[in-house]
Subunit: 478 residues, 2 copies
């Protein structure tokens, strides 16, 4: 079909913990980073990119925790072309440093300002990293807006100073696939014998296609993140990339059935939920709706599928959730709780009403209970095991007294305990361990979650299965 | 750079109202369809694809309403290769029919089963459509898995019977961009002089790139939907496509500043919310986070942007919402309502507490009020103007009496009124007009929404601006 030869078995460096950690609103802690790294290792990722340790002590600790959990899988951390940045990478125990530098006019004027010539800065930084025993990836930032001669000058200086891999970053997501083939092909020929890594942003919606085009043009390493999260519109999606490489027979997919869980884990900790029609992990990805489609899929599962969904932890569904027609169906008179039995709950005082969830209004995508707490002598011990969800939720405490006062509750958020007086709301971001119990008084407890089914919103590491179908222990005990 | 010549000024047929209406859970009514069509016309879309009228009378009415609102812009409706389907398209007033047929082995066995040879079925269907005065697009479904000879046979039969345009559907999202260039290039040469339309599904995350590659290879028409919604992972996204074509200088973008509103409108009516890092319309699309990025953008707005965001209704932001650090900051003691003044509210009895929103906990992405309603002689008239949101919400009514009884409320959903006794929940899907007022009793009214700011979640057609900056009247009065 074409004369170019794709890189067989291209390597993947996942940068969820560096680029993804730069997405708006994202703040991964040490434990979250370690848990995500553990999941990445189980997928057979070749290298894990994590953090920019010069930023802060917390960032450096996060990188160190990731290095520990990754074991034999090398970790790369980010550094500007400065000795102090590079030293801070070394101090984390990471084996690789990713030195990045913008060399074009926009970069020189608006990003990092250097007085020396580019080749001197590059040479000095890469040389320093090699001297202290790090392996080096040198990346030209905003490569797509960098004139060829400047690109080549930067890369040559890095190679001469001992860089182990060259990085090309389409930093603002500018390239189209045919431009990628041209440019990456040209770079592969110019620097034949050296490993080339590519990093594509998704601002124009083409990061995934660009990553595959780059492999075809000779790139040996692809940089990607789980769910494609990153600055602005993010980058190529690790899960989509792995599934695509498998279908193309360019790289075998290991532990494919874990893909949906890994997506959910990163959604929870990043608070960046994928939309329902996201490839691979989206709720609708293997749901067939039109009558013609449903009938065909029941007769031949390939009829409307590009892969066997079971290989990536999904199943074909011909039964989408649909809001009931008839507006009176949107109004619900709740029953004493029974329709949805909550998995982590223990003994809970008072009466509990299920106000809304998918069992009450199909496809409501919200869960809400109201619990009426009477005046009691003994409110008992824990009302729920400590647990966490993959979606945001909120607790409301409303007392029966004047101005909604009169209820005192103890709330656990992570490892901390708080005593809360009504009226109060407690916002519980996805992924945060929590529990609660009433201490005194009477009133209402309301729990509202951004998921239509309580139990399936639980983020439970036990559902993360190994290739053999055996549950994998969570990386981090809490 | 390459020898292929892109189609200058390619035409766009938007199929939000046909393919998008097939997405899981989506049900567009007549008014919603007309309002979306109106928005599409304002974007300068060349043709609007809407519905499959043989399905039901409601579907036929929906197509008819769209034909009326589109005026001079032609509407195309879907039909299997059967006379009764084609007649039902004619009856709607649509000028174009899209006849589709799977001709490969998978299609013949699992989709539509024909006893006659393909060319006879095609010939008869297209001939019938032409006879009754329709213009015809003939599409080979699942074209990417159809052998070349069968593709050509189907298209030839259609052209001989008078088809006006050939359609190629990558029905299961199988193709990579380089395969698109080969295959669409070959089809363009084989059927030179005839218009070719392409329709790419996004199952492998490459629909947008494939659409551009097809234009480069000679396709004259692109099929796409707003936000890319459709069966499973959807198709190429109209908004991303238009912005990309504009940047490539292949097609001028008209009314670009309306793109975010049109995205929001379709999100509301489809209940399919785009994720935050969606190109063009996503909340994060032009938000710059890393310190280096923020500083650079302030010094040069092109530093991390592929386009001038103002041209597509966005602005660069260097101030992302971030959850506060410190878990005690997640706990809020509400004040009597004042922080968020609700736009559509009128006189409301009782005391109202703002429990949670972005002003209380930054980036909470939820809004919740609690209103305590005392026993009253006169509850007054409307408590809020009839309004709608671009997100789902819920009302809870909880009485002060035994078993949460004791409050009676009137709720308006669309054009219907309901009397609701507590305890009750009312689920309000995004886009549904609603209002409420208390009739009798005492208790609590709780309003919970899946948005962190009440006012900006209002779906208000007045923000839809024309090219001149003048608000465009909503297409449909309610």
């Amino acid at each position: 079909m074409s004369e170019t030869r794709p890189q067989l078995n291209p390597c993947i460096i996942d940068t969820t913990l560096r680029e993804g950690a730069q997405a708006p609103g994202v703040l991964f802690g040490e434990e979250e980073s370690a848990e995500i790294a553990h999941a990445l290792v189980s997928l057979g990722i070749d290298m894990v990119e994590c953090g920019h340790p010069i930023i802060s002590d917390a960032e450096a600790r996060r990188v160190r925790a990731t290095v520990v959990i990754c074991g034999a899988v090398p970790v790369l951390a980010h550094a500007r072309a400065r000795s102090e940045d590079i030293d801070s990478v070394k101090a984390t125990g990471a084996r690789w440093v990713g030195i990045f530098m913008g060399v074009n006019a926009i970069s020189r004027n608006s990003r990092i300002r250097f007085k020396q010539p580019v080749h001197e800065v590059v040479s000095k930084a890469v040389g320093h990293a090699k001297n202290i025993g790090l392996r080096v990836r040198f990346t030209v930032e905003d490569g797509s807006r960098t004139p060829w001669s400047e690109l080549v000058e930067g890369y040559r200086a890095a190679l001469e100073a001992g860089a182990d891999r060259l990085g090309f970053a389409d930093t603002v997501g500018l390239l189209c696939p045919w431009e990628v083939e041209d440019l990456i092909g040209r770079l592969s020929r110019e620097f034949a014998g050296h490993d080339l890594e590519v990093h594509f942003h998704n601002d124009r919606g083409m990061a995934n296609a660009n990553a595959l085009s780059a492999v075809r043009a000779g790139a040996r390493w692809i940089s990607s993140s789980v769910n494609g999260i990153g600055e602005r519109c993010g980058i190529a999606d690790t899960l989509t990339l792995l599934a695509n490489l498998d279908v193309l027979k360019w790289r075998h997919l290991r532990n494919g059935r874990a893909l949906p869980y890994i997506s959910k884990l990163v959604q929870a900790y990043s608070r960046l939920m994928v939309d329902r029609w996201r490839p691979i992990a989206g709720a609708n990805a293997f749901t067939h709706v039109a009558k013609l489609h449903r009938r065909a899929v029941l007769s031949d599962e390939r009829a409307y599928a590009w892969t066997f969904p079971e290989t990536i932890g999904r199943v074909n569904s011909t039964d989408p959730e649909v809001l009931p027609s008839g507006r009176e169906r949107l109004i619900n008179r709740p029953q004493l709780m029974s329709a949805t039995e909550l998995r982590p709950r223990q003994r809970r005082p008072g009466d509990c009403y299920l106000m809304l969830d998918n069992s009450v209004v199909p496809d409501a995508r919200q869960y809400c209970i109201v619990r009426r707490i009477p005046e009691m002598d003994d409110c008992g011990e824990g009302h729920a095991d400590v647990h966490r969800h993959c979606v945001d939720s909120v607790f409301l405490f409303i007392g029966h007294g004047p101005a909604l006062r009169g209820l005192t509750v103890e709330v656990r958020l992570g490892a901390e305990m708080f005593v809360v007086e009504s009226p109060s709301s407690v916002f519980i971001p996805s992924g945060l361990l929590h529990s609660y119990r009433v201490l005194a008084g009477a009133g209402l407890f309301i729990n509202h979650m951004q998921a239509g089914d309580y139990n399936s919103s639980l983020l439970d590491s036990a559902i993360f299965q190994s290739d053999s179908g055996v549950p994998v222990e969570p990386a981090v005990s809490r």
